[in-house]
Assembly symmetry: C2
Homo-oligomer: 268 residues x 2
Amino acid sequence: MNSHLFDRAIALDTRADGRYSGRTDPAWANMVGPFGGITAATALNALLLHPDRLGEPVALTVNFCAALNDGAFEVEAQTVRTNRSTQHWAVSIEQGGETVLSATALTAVRRDTWGAQEEPLPPVLSPAALGKPSMMAPVEWVKRYDLRFPEGAMPRVWDGTGESSRTTVWMRDEPPRPLDFPALVALCDVFYPRVWLRRATRVPAGTVSMTVYFHARATELAAVGEGWLLGQAQASAFRNGYFDQRAQVWSQAGALLATTHQVVYFKE
Amino acid sequence: MNSHLFDRAIALDTRADGRYSGRTDPAWANMVGPFGGITAATALNALLLHPDRLGEPVALTVNFCAALNDGAFEVEAQTVRTNRSTQHWAVSIEQGGETVLSATALTAVRRDTWGAQEEPLPPVLSPAALGKPSMMAPVEWVKRYDLRFPEGAMPRVWDGTGESSRTTVWMRDEPPRPLDFPALVALCDVFYPRVWLRRATRVPAGTVSMTVYFHARATELAAVGEGWLLGQAQASAFRNGYFDQRAQVWSQAGALLATTHQVVYFKE
C-alpha cells in the first residue's frame, strides 16, 4: 500500500466499470475546496483505472464547473470512441447530483517515430544553487511541493508594480515521489495565478479550463523518477475577466514532458 | 439569407432544443472529409444557437474522434452546468450513431476589467506588400481563404531540410466576411501540419484535439469586420506519433483575439 499523500488524494473506489467514488483530502486544501491540480489528477486516474483503456494519455482537458465541496464525490469515465490505436474519453465528477468537473481525454498506443523538440530547457540556476525558499505556504496544498523559483516567484509586496507574468520554477513532490501521469497533471497546475504576478495585486482568480498535452510515455516518466522538473508559465492576454496561461514542463535533463494551457477567471 | 460559403457550411437545422442536423459541404473538403476548422465552427454554432445560452464563448475544446464521412450528421449541445455568470457545455457530432466529434465549451458574461496583453503583433510585411500568392490549393477548403505568408509557407520542395516549425500568416475569408466566433474558430485551424514544415517532408497527419481561448467579445470581433488577421503557429515537441501546436491570432491593429492549441497525430 502506497501511503504517499498524493496517492491517498487521487485514490478511487471502483463501484462498477468506469464508476468510482472518491473523497477530498484536507492535505490538498486550497482557499475554497481542493487544489485544482489534484482534482484534475483524480479525473485522469479514473480513466487510467478503467479496464477498457487503450494506450497512454496524449491529451486531457479538464473544465472546473464549480468549486468542489469538502467530502465525497462520484467519478464517471466513459469511452466515447475507440479506434485501432486511439481512444476518446469523457470523464465527469459529481457532488450531490451536480457536475463539478467535466473532462475529455485522448489515450493512444504511441509508437517510435522521428522526433524533435523546439523548446529547450531555459538556462537557469539549479535547484541546489537556489536552495529551499523560506516561503510561508499560503494554503495547505503548497506544502505538498518543493518549489524553487529562478524567476517570477510570488510577489512579497502587493504594490501594483508587476511588469511580466512569467514564472520559471523547479518543482518536485514533497516528499519526492516517482513521476507518473497523474503527478504530471497536478504539476501542470502548480503555477499561481498569472494576474497576481503581472499586477503585483492579489485579486480573486480561479482556473476554469485546463488542457495538458503529454509528450512522454510512461517509461520516460518513470525514468525521471523523483527528479526535479522545471516549469515555465506565462499569460498572453488579460481581458474582460479572463486570462490565459501557457506553460511547459521539462525534466532536469531537458526533455519536454508536457505543454499545458489554461484559462482563468479573475475579478476586477 | 446570408449566402457566404462559410455560413452555408456551418448551418444547422434545429430538431429540438439543443438537437440539430447538418451536412458536410463539398466547398470545405479536406483530403478525407471536411476541413477540421469548419467542423469545429459547426460545433460552436450549435451552442450559439441554443436558446438557453448564457454569455459569449471563452473556451472551446474539440476532439476529432473519427473522420467525418461526406453527408448528413447530427449535433447535440447540452448545458453541463449553469452558474451565475458562466456556463459549461458538452457538444457532440454523430454519424450513424457513432460519435465523430466531442467538445466542451465555456461561455460567460464578460465584464469590463483591468487588462493587458503580453504578446504583441509580430513585425511583418503587410498583406498588401506580400501580395496574393500564386499557390495551388492542395485541397478544396484552402480556396475559401486568402493566406499570405510572411514566414513559414508550405515547403515547395520536400527535401527533408526543415529547421523550424514556425509559420506566420495573414489570413482572411475569401471572399471577405465579417468576423464572428465561428469564423475565428475555423481560422485557428488554418495552419497546415507543423511536421511538414519542420521536416520538409509530407507525412500523413491529422488534428486529434484543439482548444481555443477567446480574448475578445462579439463587439470587438464585429469591429474587426472584414479585416486581416495575423496568425502565428509553432510546435514545441514532436515525439512518438504526436506533436503539439500553439498559435496566436491577432487583428491587424494588434489585438490578440485568440490563443489556440492542438495536438496532432503524425505517421513515421
